[in-house]
């Protein structure tokens, strides 16, 4: 047994050192966070900047002849009526054209048209740069509704000061908690984004390392080194060594990135001075400090869980990729043969966003238990809602058992596949390989 350990160690060592020494490893270690930052954090920063610094001026074109525009402007937080333009219905097309020009020239972000249909509470028209932002549209329709209430009060003969004071009631800032079976927990957009970031990172890492594992196995097989190696160690040990070696490389990268992130979190005051001074109520917690505060608020148990899921997820997919590698005869074949494994990963990634919106749903719970998706989905759920400990334990146990199963299965395919150089085996032949190696 001692000798086997020594050989296993030799395989792990080679796999690890040869990978860590490559240019690919160094480049991906440096560029990984940069890339991830570009696709995730940058849009947040830009959005925050946009919200804080560029004036969000909405022109209000009032063709109702009732003074509705004035109330709407107040309800939207304007100090005076500078943005309100009162026109007759006949002049409306001209006013629209002018307002459109203002928006294209960036004098305003958009304009609202109030007309007779608006008075009937039928419709209100908005055109502008934020037509795709739910938050902005809700803000506008809320303001119009407040304006309509004020006009209605006026009609019913309520004294003007009273109407003004009612119209001036501001919408309070909404703060939320999530309640699930386990109880109540706080949520924030920043926290959700952080969770998505981690899930996306796990997905990318597993995908990239899986491909790297695949080409490593194919190289070993096609260069025929495999035959020398398995005359010295059993295919099971070779497979286990490769999977562990590749996982260790992934962990090395994770630790480097983790340490770098920890540094950013610790030094956030120095790194993002502007964000640190920004008024916290300005936007719904969506700025850099909130993001980093969410990161620092994550408990140790979460970090340990992510580490465990990462480890097991790597082992699981590593074994599957290695098995695929053993069945194919060339890189081209590999791309096709790896499709089912990649599909499992992509399927999981597709559900990141829906699960983020509803982390307590049946779908989310199921996918955080299934072994092919739990390494990505469970950390995602754990970062957004309180997941009951038994669910986490069950997920880890299922995953661990599946890892053992995947390695067992892969080793059997490996044993036969490594010496087969012909065409790809059919599913029936694969079944025979697995049975034969028993």
């Amino acid at each position: 047994m001692g000798e086997s350990w020594g050989k296993l160690w030799a395989v792990i060592r080679r796999e690890y050192l040869e990978r860590v020494r490559t240019r690919w490893f160094i480049i991906s270690t440096v560029l990984g966070p940069v890339l991830l930052g570009v696709v995730t954090v940058l849009p947040i920063l830009v959005a925050t900047r946009d919200a804080n610094q560029v004036a969000n001026r909405v022109e209000i074109i009032d063709a109702t002849g009732t003074g509705l525009g004035r109330y709407v402007a107040r309800a939207m937080g304007a100090k005076d009526d500078a943005d309100v333009q009162t026109v007759s219905p006949a002049d409306l097309p001209q006013a629209r054209t002018t307002a459109t020009t203002d928006v294209t020239r960036r004098l305003a972000t958009g304009f609202v048209v109030l007309d007779s249909a608006t008075l009937r509470s039928d419709s209100v028209y908005y055109a502008g740069r934020r037509a795709d932002q739910r938050g902005e549209l809700t803000r506008i329709s809320d303001a119009v509704r407040a304006g309509l209430i004020a006009i209605e009060l006026q009609h019913r003969g309520i004294a003007q000061p009273v109407v003004d004071s009612i119209a001036g009631i501001a919408a309070p800032t909404l703060s939320t908690d999530t309640i699930n079976d386990a109880g109540r927990s706080s949520t924030s957009l920043a926290k959700a984004l952080l969770a998505a970031l981690v899930a996306f990172f796990l997905y990318m890492a597993i995908l990239l390392y899986g491909q790297s594992m695949l080409s490593g196995v194919i190289e070993e097989k096609m260069s025929r080194v495999a035959e020398i190696v398995i005359s010295s160690v059993s295919p099971d040990i070779l497979l286990a060594g490769k999977v562990i070696g590749v996982t260790a490389v992934g962990l090395t990268q994770l630790i480097i990135w983790g340490a770098a992130s920890a540094f950013v979190v610790m030094a956030r005051g120095t790194l993002f001075p502007a964000a640190a001074h920004a008024a916290p109520a300005a936007s719904a917690g969506l700025n850099t400090t909130a993001f980093l505060d969410a990161a620092i608020a994550l408990p140790w148990s979460w970090i340990i869980a992510v580490f465990l899921f990462f480890l097991l997820g790597f082992l699981f997919y590593g074994a599957l990729y290695a098995a695929v590698g053993a069945t194919v005869g060339s890189e081209q074949d590999a791309r096709q043969a790896a499709q089912p494994v990649i599909m499992l990963l992509v399927l999981t990634a597709v559900f990141i966003s829906p699960i983020l919106q509803n982390p307590g749903s049946q779908l989310a719970r199921t996918m955080s238990l299934l072994p092919f998706s739990s390494p990505i989905i469970m950390p995602l759920r754990m970062a957004t809602v309180d997941v009951s400990p038994w669910e986490v334990v069950a997920s880890i146990v299922i995953l661990a058992v599946s890892v053992a199963g995947a390695i067992w299965l892969a080793a059997r395919i490996y044993r036969v596949g490594l010496l087969m150089y012909g065409k790809r085996p059919s599913l029936r032949e694969l079944r025979r390989w697995i049975a034969a190696a028993g």
């Binding site: 000798e3 086997s4 020594g6 050989k7 160690w9 030799a10 395989v11 060592r13 080679r14 040869e18 490559t22 190289e219 070993e220 096609m222 260069s223 025929r224 080194v225 035959e227 020398i228 190696v229 398995i230 005359s231 010295s232 160690v233 059993s234 010496l419």
Partner: protein
């Protein structure tokens, strides 16, 4: 009494479409050089892989160095050069050899000394050029083959199995390998090699086994095989045309004439 490095009894291996080896029995005496001879596709490689426990025979038993071939402890006592050659292309020569040594349980400092000795001997490390730091992909095919040969012998195995060891080697390197094989024999090791080049078998082997279509046709010591299957010695009278060498010398008008050559032009 003869001890056997390998004893195979009634070994068969069947694949989906064909029978690779059929009811093969053979015995390789310890301390000899044994030739596994046969045409391409005869089942030589399958036989070797079964001896190495890389594939499992359907029927029959194989005993290697006194143990069942499935005993995992055996692998450290066997050296193997497969017919299909290849190494990790991006790795450096010394790292590959260290890895192969580690797979046989040789610790690194020990391995380094052995690697140096072998690199010197097979001229992969000379005062002009040290190939040990080169990547495998920078080596010629012949040099890669020598590295693999070293890898098969680093752990000083009791049994060495070489599948077509001389194919693809130039005469100088082939001779270096032959010398190494004969030295192994002097040191009491058992060497099995497969080949379809009969000259090599005749000059090196103590005993041979000829197989074709997965079946053994002939086996035994060279002299036994010749007596049994070659018939009585025959006196052959051979008339030979002058060799190219002789013609060359004659035309160029060189003076250095080897004994037995004629003429000055």
């Amino acid at each position: 009494m003869t001890t056997y490095a390998i004893e195979a009894r009634g070994v068969s291996k069947r694949y989906a479409e064909h029978v690779a080896v059929r009811d093969l029995s053979l015995a390789v005496p310890s301390g000899t050089v044994y030739g596994l001879l046969g045409p391409n596709g005869a089942g030589k490689t399958t036989t070797i892989r079964m001896i190495l426990n890389i594939i499992v025979p359907d029927t029959g038993t194989i005993t290697v160095l006194g143990r069942p071939s499935t005993d995992p402890k055996l692998t450290d006592r066997i050296g193997y050069l497969p017919e299909e050659r290849g190494l990790y292309r991006k790795m450096r020569v010394r790292d590959v050899l260290r890895f192969l040594a580690a797979l046989k349980g040789i610790p690194q400092h020990d391995a380094d000394q052995r690697i140096d000795r072998w690199l010197d001997r097979l001229t992969l490390r000379t005062p002009e050029r040290d190939w040990s730091t080169a990547r495998i992909e920078e080596l010629s095919r012949g040099m890669q083959q020598k590295v693999q040969f070293i890898g098969a012998l680093l752990h000083d195995p009791d049994l060495v199995i070489l599948d077509e060891p001389f194919s693809g080697l130039d005469p100088v390197n082939a001779q270096a390998l032959k010398d190494a094989v004969m030295e192994l024999r002097r040191n009491g090791k058992t060497v099995i090699f497969s080949t379809h080049i009969m000259e090599n078998a005749e000059s090196m082997c103590d005993a041979v086994c000829i197989i074709a279509h997965g079946e053994k046709l002939v086996d035994g010591t060279i002299s036994d095989v010749k007596t049994q299957y070659g018939g009585p010695p025959v006196e052959k009278v051979v008339l030979v045309q002058p060799s190219l060498h002789e013609i060359f010398l004659a035309r160029v008008g060189a003076t250095g004439v080897e004994p037995g050559m004629h003429g000055h032009g």
